[in-house]
Symmetry: C2
Subunit: 180 residues, 2 copies
């Protein structure tokens, strides 16, 4: 399926919920994508196409919706899947990062032995908003010696300029919602 | 791959970490399975075989490691994936359940429209210990009208009698660790 056609399908499939999780936030409910097997398949294929031709050592998924898209992608590409998790979920030794979010703050952890130094990885999450979580994940991966080739998202809210947070790391998203 | 052979591989691949997340708990680190693409593939195939011949409307994954195995399985089977989540992550309307765990307590939510009444579902999680989370998930699904065909796990600790918590619902696990 062409990206443009997939965007059309996503646009009609993903509902928006106002004032969730907080007043003034418009929530894009990507769980609708997972509930539609064909759409989930096309999204995974689009992410896989984006990865094709790259030498990738691991797919990194961000806790927790990034696990869903990341695991399907890792399965499709036959690549290792590495979870980046909220604190206290991974056994030692872990590397931890603290970061600031649009509404609140966050902490993430990764196993120190999750990648080998120099490993090339692609990061997957469902949505790129202000980019705090993605930035934290990239920094965490770089600290344990990984080279982050790209961060891939299903949905991007470009007005929030999340991709500007990622420094030299490229960002790819399937669908972009302007004016949100 | 035969189940017996897969069990052997899992036994040598899954490390155990003593006293995590609490003193006296032996942690089975299933992230090692996700990091090994062939093994992850075989585990997904074993779960898919278990589902074959069943009329299944959706695969339900439990937050958050159940998302990883559940998403790969849903992708493989071309079935809808439904996440059961910790509170505050899913937009309304949700059904919520409070339950007691071996070390602590928990709450889980599901979208009320996640399944249609009478839908047949299979629940996936990485590990069955005392069964509190699985029991909560089954009850949540039954409340919104789903019929739970089975709960499937990668690892089971049979001494903790988790499957006894599931009432009439069958439990399947790939590998069992006795005496843990």
């Amino acid at each position: 399926m062409q990206l443009e056609e997939l965007r059309e399908e996503l646009r009609s499939a993903i509902p928006t919920i106002p004032d969730f999780p907080k007043q003034g936030i418009l929530f894009y409910d990507v769980t609708a994508v997972m509930r539609a097997p064909e759409l989930f398949h096309h999204v995974t294929q689009a992410l896989a196409s984006r990865c094709s031709g790259k030498e990738i050592d691991a797919i990194v998924g961000i806790d927790a919706r990034g696990f869903i898209f990341g695991a399907a992608l890792a399965y499709e590409l036959n690549k290792p899947f590495v979870p980046v998790r909220k604190p206290g979920k991974l056994p030692p030794e872990v590397e931890r990062i603290y970061y600031v979010l649009e509404y609140g703050e966050g902490e993430l952890e990764i196993r120190k032995d999750a990648v080998s130094p120099g490993d090339k990885v692609v990061v997957i999450d469902d949505l790129l908003a202000t980019g705090g979580t993605a930035k934290g994940t990239v920094e965490l991966l770089q600290r344990i010696g990984a080279e982050v080739l790209e961060c891939c998202f299903v949905v991007e809210l470009p007005d929030l300029k999340g991709r500007d947070q990622l420094g030299q790391v490229e960002a790819f998203s399937i669908i972009q919602y302007e004016g949100s």
